[in-house]
């Protein structure tokens, strides 16, 4: 039986690179039985979805600065 520390590590690895099928299977079995890790995994997934948008949109000024430089570079 996987320990929770290992389950947390493996759940993270699934969001990082590849996790072998056996480890994936062990994690899945652990999650069936451990509601704390289930909660952790669900919240980690939401967190990683959230960080993608955390920087928000650029302001009009920022966008204009980029476009201005672009015009200058293509105009020359």
């Amino acid at each position: 039986m996987l320990k929770c520390t290992q389950a947390v590590e493996d759940a993270n690895t699934m969001h990082t690179s590849k996790l072998g099928w056996w480890r994936r299977f062990s994690l899945f079995m652990h999650l069936l039985m451990c509601h704390h890790c289930r909660r952790y995994v669900r919240q980690l997934k939401m967190l990683l979805g959230a960080v993608k948008d955390m920087h928000g949109e650029a302001s009009d000024e920022e966008v204009e600065r980029v476009l201005k430089r672009l015009r200058e570079s293509s105009g020359s």
Partner: protein, 215 residues
């Protein structure tokens, strides 16, 4: 228990992913589409460049936009646009550093930083203090409070640059992990530790905020 099911991983963000229609407009050089692209990704690109080049991040990203604009007609869409843009930014950053006689490397400053979540586990590897239940409907609600975003900025200010860089490249920009390790001269085992610690810190911040309403 579908939302708890590990088989669904990894997540791909939808909000910053361009539609096929967006891509068509971008490839055909439509100005409004490019403007929208800049609006969506500019800040994330600067955040990705900053741990590598510091105050020169804005300059690096500006140059990357010029290159991206030129290359867009040939963009094949094999990766998300943000991932592709980040790759261009990373190349620009490396070029700038090379000009300064420096190399990109995230390897050197690992030591001394403890696992931010180890205190939650007992000696036998089980949860002693499990995370609390977050009162959120989905990812869009996790970081929706201004106060929390402010705290997050503060946290990023204190976070080691290599942890921050990995979080930005992998989790925000969706770059391939192996590619990051190669490009940033860091071993996979080291990078994994750094990235998981960065996530752990952000997780702890949100968990604490969920519990106390402050951070």
């Amino acid at each position: 228990m579908s939302s708890d099911n590990a088989q669904e991983m990894p997540v791909t963000g939808m909000a910053n992913r361009e539609s096929e229609e967006d891509l068509q407009r971008l490839r055909s050089g439509e100005v409004a589409a490019f403007e929208q692209l800049v609006r969506r990704h500019h800040r994330a690109l600067i955040a990705a460049a900053r741990p590598l080049v510091g105050d020169e991040a804005e300059e690096v990203v500006q140059n990357a936009w010029i290159k991206a604009h030129r290359a867009l007609p040939e963009f094949e869409g094999r990766s998300a646009v943000r991932t592709w843009l980040t790759r261009i930014v990373l190349n620009e950053a490396k070029m700038l550093l090379r000009k300064r006689g420096r190399e990109v490397s995230l390897e050197d400053t690992t030591g001394g930083d403890a696992d931010p979540q180890s205190w939650r586990f007992g000696s036998r590897g089980g949860w002693a203090l499990p995370p609390r239940y977050w009162q959120v409907e989905g990812p869009h609600e996790v970081l929706s409070s201004d106060q929390l975003l402010e705290c997050l900025q503060r946290l990023f200010g204190e976070m080691p640059g290599n942890q921050k860089a990995l979080l930005e490249m992998r989790d925000v920009s969706g770059m391939d992990f192996e590619e990051i390790c190669n490009d940033l001269n860091v071993s996979a085992s080291n990078a994994r530790v750094l990235l998981h610690r960065a996530r752990g810190r952000v997780f702890e911040l949100v968990d604490h905020y969920q519990e106390t309403g402050e951070c």
